[in-house]
Symmetry: C2
Subunit: 445 residues, 2 copies
């Protein structure tokens, strides 16, 4: 492989050759290669990187490697990396490094940039402001296309998304946007004002990142301008960051739906105590809640003692109810997250779940009834009791599983917590209560 | 609102004014407005749309509205829409419409385009080939920058992603890529060959869409070239389609993890029978499996009859085991999906889950022990039995929940099926077996 070959060149001291090879690699691949190397090699290779590539590779490295590099290299080298780094990456870096590293970084940052960083650090976490970058091209609407192109040629080299330019007035208010391809496709004497798009989709600095992602998805955007309260352009957000946000929001939902506190941290990099801390609270709450179900069993203890065979169907009823409820809750939570289901749809959802649960309930009950008779596990009356309980359990679990996520959203809670685990706990208690009541009545216990 | 205002204009017969207003709206917003209107108004407004906007709005409409429009409008109008539609949208349309509509569409498609469509229809579903579009700009490496710009000006108007140009040789083999901004930033007399990027990331027509999405995420791409076996450029895939794929793959995982057959269809648009059909199979399998747990209870029936209070802790043990197992399984499934965990990490995962389960298990067991004593629900010996069983259940559920998804992936199955519902069924049987065994031993039943 190229990587081994380059390492060999380095160990033979053929650094110029190694540098040529490395500079032809993709920065992402260089970063994941460095991740696997020991610290000595990391430093050697990092120092071989061309200046602009060094900053890009650096931005893709995990925090611990970034920390190590900043600790190890000279101030002059830090300065050159920070200069090349996009502002949003610099802010991320400062947010995640320990104090001594932050100090070393800020010492090597220009006054002007330090001010910007401070301003960015004030935006709340998960807000559009904390996601945006300031590397964009701004034009004036009076410019001609050739003037605009000349301006871009002069200023555009470092801009993250020069593919779209933003037209602002003298107060920095956003007046229009113009994709760079439109500049090329139009006559050079054309005035920007006449060809810019004025029907602009923009977001506010304080908008939540989830809402920003929804706008990207809805309008198939590549970048969105971020404005402040006075509609002044303060930054842009690009699609590559949004893709990360989408995955992050999905991960959060997966975690919440499995009754855990959500986290960004990678599993293998999280220590056992942190993992335990994220899982314990909900397990505790649900464990305590499950004792209600136990209390129901105790209440019917005497009746059940007369017909101990009834106990044997408890796991089947509990599991099936939990699974059926999880199915419904998952569909609704996902539908809400993708904006396919809205708060006004509660009745529709309940109605639909009722229909589905009756169909599925009857099918399962029939199979269950036949199974019990064939295996001679119990008498026909008991089989009937169990099967009817199964239908009731299905209806309860699907209607509750469908309704609770929407109700949660109505009460401005995250629907994702109304998922499998919580639904299961609620449904179990109701399922067993119905089962025992039905048994007492049908079997005359 | 603008929409109401425009509808009023239309009802007053002021169509030219209405058209002006509509043409200033975003095509996505027009499409979602049309979705809410009755069919009469849909047609009136659709016919008012400027030609290029009509195609864009059309591509955002749900299938039933697309079908209705094609059924209702004249061949000439269809022709103009199909001409404006991007090829990938046309192919999607043909794949999803009933035969009579497809016939009407193909009748109004040029011979050349029909051939292309047929070729596209041959790519397997979920392959890169089925995702790509052919609207891109191709350049030759011998061109000068000004020649390239002139060529783009002449040919580029309709191209979906003119932001990146692709350099091909006379056999259409891909030789390089060049972002349009690089053309602008370079001297007009520069030769493409000298400024193009040759370190190209491309995908193959038969690559799976999930792998394509992973490449976009890894390299922060906006578009990727698609090549055939001979490395000839046949199309490009753009990030907007990838965002949809990412959400689609996440939805699939959510569905599978809740023991359902995954589907793309929106919940509210799916009928009750289809919903039931997607949910029944797994519920049935899990219901039958849960009878094993019941069999275990029957086996211990005599022992348990001597101490009926033991029954009351069954729901708590089952639920807690299920929840704990779901937590682990979810973390691992998600980690595998995001490539944060690899097949080689089995030992690490099992080890970590063992640690977490001991910590969490002890914490829960202590709380549980104290609760039983305080509420005087049972004797200290019983409380001890239940609490020890809880620790064993936690260890079993977390280790199994952590290991099964990785094992599934090793066996080339989808890890997402090894989620909550299946883990719960397995863990329940083991948990109750441990509980009863422990009780028989400690309590001498």
């Amino acid at each position: 492989m190229t990587e081994e070959f380059i390492l060999n060149l380095i160990h033979q001291g053929r650094l110029v050759e190694a540098r040529t090879w490395i500079s032809q690699m993709n920065a992402v691949d260089v970063a994941s290669w460095l991740e696997e190397l020991d610290r000595n090699n990391i430093l050697v290779i990092f120092r071989l990187l061309p200046k602009d590539m060094a900053a890009e590779v650096f931005s893709y490295l995990p925090n611990e490697d970034q920390e190590f590099i900043i600790e190890s290299i000279a101030d002059r080298e830090i300065k050159s990396i920070i200069e090349e780094l996009f502002l949003d990456d610099t802010v991320d870096l400062i947010e995640e490094m320990p104090a001594n590293i932050v100090k070393k970084v800020l010492k090597n940052t220009s006054e002007e940039r330090r001010k910007l960083i401070n301003q960015f650090l004030k935006y709340p976490e998960d807000s559009a402001g904390s996601l945006m970058t300031i590397e964009f091209v701004d034009l004036k609407k009076e410019m001609r296309v050739d003037e605009a192109l000349a301006y871009i040629r002069k200023n555009g080299i470092d801009k993250e998304t020069v593919d779209i330019c933003y037209v602002i007035d003298k107060n920095r208010k956003l007046e229009g946007i113009i994709p760079i391809r439109k500049l090329i496709l139009n006559d050079t004497s054309q005035i920007i004002k006449n060809i810019m798009i004025t029907n602009i989709i923009s977001v506010h600095t304080l908008d939540d990142q989830e809402d920003v992602a929804a706008i990207f998805k809805r309008y198939d955007l590549l970048a969105v301008p971020v404005v402040d309260k006075e509609n002044r352009l303060v930054g842009i957000i690009t699609i590559d960051d949004i893709v990360d946000i989408i995955e992050q929001e999905n991960t959060e939902d997966f975690h919440k739906m499995a009754a855990m506190q959500p986290t960004d941290e990678e599993y293998l990099k999280t220590n056992v105590f942190t993992l335990a801390r994220h899982r314990l609270p909900w397990l505790l709450v649900l464990m305590i809640s499950a004792t209600f179900t136990g209390a129901i069993m105790q209440r019917f203890e005497d009746a059940l003692a007369a017909m101990a065979v009834l106990y044997a169907f408890i796991p089947m009823l509990m599991d099936t109810g939990g699974n059926a409820g999880s199915q419904s809750a998952t569909l609704i939570i996902r539908g809400l997250a993708l904006d396919e289901i809205s708060l006004g749809d509660t009745i529709k959802v309940v109605w639909k779940e009722l229909g589905v649960s009756i169909l599925v309930g009857i099918a399962l009950a029939v199979v269950n009834f036949i199974r019990i008779l064939i295996t001679r596990q119990a008498s026909p009356v008991v089989a009937l009791t169990v099967s009817l309980s199964l239908i009731i359990t299905l209806i309860l679990s699907k209607v509750i599983g469908g309704a609770l996520p929407i109700l949660a959203k109505r009460m401005r809670m995250d629907p994702a917590i109304m998922a499998g685990p919580l639904i299961t706990t609620i449904v179990d208690a109701l399922a067993l209560f119905s089962y025992f009541s039905l048994a007492s009545w049908l079997l005359g216990l």
